[in-house]
Symmetry: C3
């Protein structure tokens, strides 16, 4: 069985190892793959984005364990979710927002699964790992707890379009400084258009980074099917001082 891990634990602490050791102790033979542990502490939006972006590449039946959990130890619920292609275990704080529609969402209420714990600060090791291990051992999702109708969801402001204008947002800034937006690349008009972010603008379009003239920004269809704004070999987020959440306006004449 395959388990992915997404956390905000970083890799300098013992936290990721303790989760992995617990998984391998309770579900021997599990294959572990890291999505990322570099999510900024408590940044549920970034965690949710990474999960949404990575999950479609994994084989059917993969269990995805995501622990970005500023509410650890509080009465926030723990969710276990089954979609057609995968299982998810995560705190009920919006992290699983992209996967909650039309699927089975359960609140885990199997206290006897949890490890005896010296405190309430490390549910990743003491609760989430044993829950994931139970799925990896083949126990049913149903056995974990009741279906709930009201999991927490992140607020969602979808991109919008009207004749001559698309409004969206930067939903991710990647390592290279590319501005990943939520604007579907298919929405771009055939006509020339102009993208504006944070007071900077470009009308250039390209199909790949190396096709952009040095020092110029361009719109490019990105790896998630949405528009990216990018430089060729340089960091646009730094050059334009843009971070996640910035508004993107794309405009053109005619419709």
């Amino acid at each position: 069985m395959l388990l992915t891990l997404l956390t905000d634990f970083g890799t300098a602490d013992y936290y990721v190892a303790a989760v992995k050791g617990t998984i391998l102790r309770l579900a021997p033979g599990t294959v572990l793959v890291d999505i990322s542990h570099e999510v900024p502490p408590g940044d549920i939006e970034t965690g949710s984005f990474l999960l949404r972006a990575a999950v479609p590449s994994f084989p059917d039946g993969t269990v995805h364990l995501a622990v970005i959990d500023p509410g650890v130890g509080s009465d926030r619920r723990i969710l276990a979710v089954r979609t057609p292609a995968a299982y998810f275990v995560a705190p009920d704080n919006g992290l699983l927002t992209p996967f909650l529609d039309g699927v089975e969402v359960r609140s885990v209420e199997r206290d006897e699964l949890f490890l005896a714990s010296p405190g309430q600060t490390f549910h990743g090791r003491d609760r989430f790992a044993p829950i994931a291990a139970s799925l990896l051992r083949g126990e049913s999702l149903e056995s974990l707890g009741p279906v709930i109708p009201d999991p927490v969801r992140l607020p969602f402001s979808p991109p919008a379009r009207e004749p001559g204008r698309i409004s969206g947002r930067v939903i991710h800034v990647d390592r290279y400084g590319n501005l990943v937006t939520d604007v579907p690349a298919a929405w771009l008009p055939a006509a020339p258009c102009r993208a504006e972010v944070a007071g900077h603008a470009t009308s250039r379009r390209a199909s790949h980074y190396a096709g952009i003239p040095p020092g110029e920004a361009a719109m490019i269809p990105g790896s998630l099917g949405t528009v990216e704004l990018s430089l060729n070999g340089e960091d646009l987020a730094r050059a334009w001082s843009v971070s996640r959440g910035a508004k993107v306006d794309i405009t053109w004449n005619g419709s």
Copy 2:
């Protein structure tokens, strides 16, 4: 067989990969799990802490290879240790201090295991990996070398208590800026008490981070059974300018 790796190699170099490749070449089928490679260069205390914290989560029989080895190439010994639950391979420099009591500690003296080496700077690849591989292949600990009575130990200053006062230290600062102390949470009095570190103090106690009012520090029972000092969603180590080793004093009236 399961092998964990703890080093100060970082992840930008080829060092971790060379150790893993060597393990997989000499002990095919080994499952590898990273504890951390972000130990500050030569920081044996941090390495020892991480090992102590992570090891209990792993299955019995796991081999733990730890290479934080500023004495590489010198005449420092290489240790192979068996505890009831695990095997350890590490330089004899104090890294294994938490695991040395009442167990079998051997000095590895099997030069024929070592790889032909262009230099004496990378025993991780050329000596430690082959030693670990021999255990992973099922060779006995006894075959590696003689029992020794005097492995190097880190100095240890345990926390102390007297009526109305506990004295301890910050033994780790984690990614979130939590101050992990060596004071057993069970030592805290039922009465109100006051923790002081580096000229800052708090009398607040909480069971989990989200239960702490914004901007206030609190004592919290942490994931190792000791007291942590924490903020809710912010970095207390930065706010109080505290680093590992700082003294912690907890005081109260009466006993």
Copy 3:
């Protein structure tokens, strides 16, 4: 089957996970080992160095997938290479320079292997992973495309020697601040000699770091068989303000 991964993706994005998920979906059971994902963006020289340094440690038959690919989406070719000991898949941009002599180098022209893609920015997931998976599933290298005579190579300026003088370069600065040079350690004379880099010099030689007096730099035979310049427990690259590419001159009297 064993696959290593070397990229400049970093570990904060979903990119590495998407490649791994794709590999595990298309070639179930593959064992994955990271070489590094911290190659600076687009830094083909560093990628090439790490690959050359790490590969000899891996078992025969390992597939090495390297994606440092500033030309992604352009008409640069994708290479598949077989050496006596390993397979390689990488963009045709010089990354495989250390492995191209006297071996079978093919240009991958099997478009039907590639994943349907929303854009041309993530060939790591959409092209490189499926190519590597085909080798991992046991498909032949021959089936991937034709042999080509002219793969791109990085410029190569080998170290030189004449009586009383060796000229080389710093080819890597590692995490500890060691200056790894391209000067074979076997070239050093038996006589005393003097190494000069960036206006700093040392005449000291040592066999291991702990044998260097505090604060002094020394020449030391390193883990790749070449001369390193190092301090004992401190960062020489920082102390001498040296980075990769710096010239190294080693001189002595007589020959």
